[in-house]
């Protein structure tokens, strides 16, 4: 008769995989990686902080609507908060991108982090155009048609929609 083996259990397998991926000594770490001690890294943190404010203020704007953000005092406040958080987001992101690009920061097993940043940059540019449209004035109309023309020219949007 063979030695008794514990029956295979999905909870055991899950726990072993979780401990292997995130060992306890790496959770709530008391030492930071060396690349954290850099002003360029700080600008990455500032970029994500600005993004959090963008999402929060943008969600409130979307729920309350343009009749609120164009007219009321609180609406103006959130409108301005959304604008300036976007301005800071791009400011911080460009500085972080320049630094990380010239540092070749995709090395050392951080390729996925680099790809995340590149995708964020590429998504942020067309998203910024939607912010211009939220002004709902002649500038917004002009910028929306120009942006649509650019997307048509790049082949990334169906030309029949405009």
């Amino acid at each position: 008769m063979s030695a008794t083996q514990p029956p295979p259990s999905w909870t055991l397998r899950l726990r072993e995989r979780a401990v292997e991926a995130l060992p306890p000594e790496k959770l709530l770490a008391d030492k930071q990686p060396s690349y954290v001690a850099s002003w360029i890294y700080v600008f990455g943190v500032l970029t994500l902080s600005a993004l959090a404010v963008i999402i929060l203020s943008g969600t409130i704007l979307a729920l309350k609507g343009p009749a609120w953000w164009h007219v009321t005092g609180v609406g103006h406040f959130f409108n301005s908060m959304h604008l300036w958080s976007v301005e800071l987001f791009f400011f911080f992101m460009v500085i972080h991108l320049w630094g990380k690009y010239w540092m070749a920061a995709w090395r050392g097993g951080r390729a996925r982090v680099w790809v995340t940043g590149a995708v964020t940059f590429l998504v942020a540019i067309p998203c910024a155009l939607t912010g211009y449209v939220s002004q709902q004035n002649f500038d917004a109309q002009w910028i929306s048609t120009q942006a649509k023309d650019a997307m048509n020219q790049s082949g990334s949007a169906p030309s029949s929609t405009f």
Partner: protein
């Protein structure tokens, strides 16, 4: 800010060959270059008694 700057007029534009940028955009680009240079050149503060090396790999 509107009390300091007159925002009810067209922006001043800078022309250089085929490049045409509004002055506010030029100022933002210059500010980004200056802040980037400072971020590279200024030493990052370390707590007393703690060296620069950590557990990770320097990029």
């Amino acid at each position: 800010m509107a009390a300091v700057f007159n925002l009810n007029r067209h922006a001043t534009y800078v022309h250089w060959h085929f490049i045409e940028l509004s002055l506010p955009n030029v100022l933002v680009i210059v500010a980004m270059l200056v802040v980037f240079a400072l971020a590279i050149l200024l030493p990052f503060p370390h707590p007393r008694g703690v060296g620069g090396s950590g557990t990770g790999e320097q990029p």
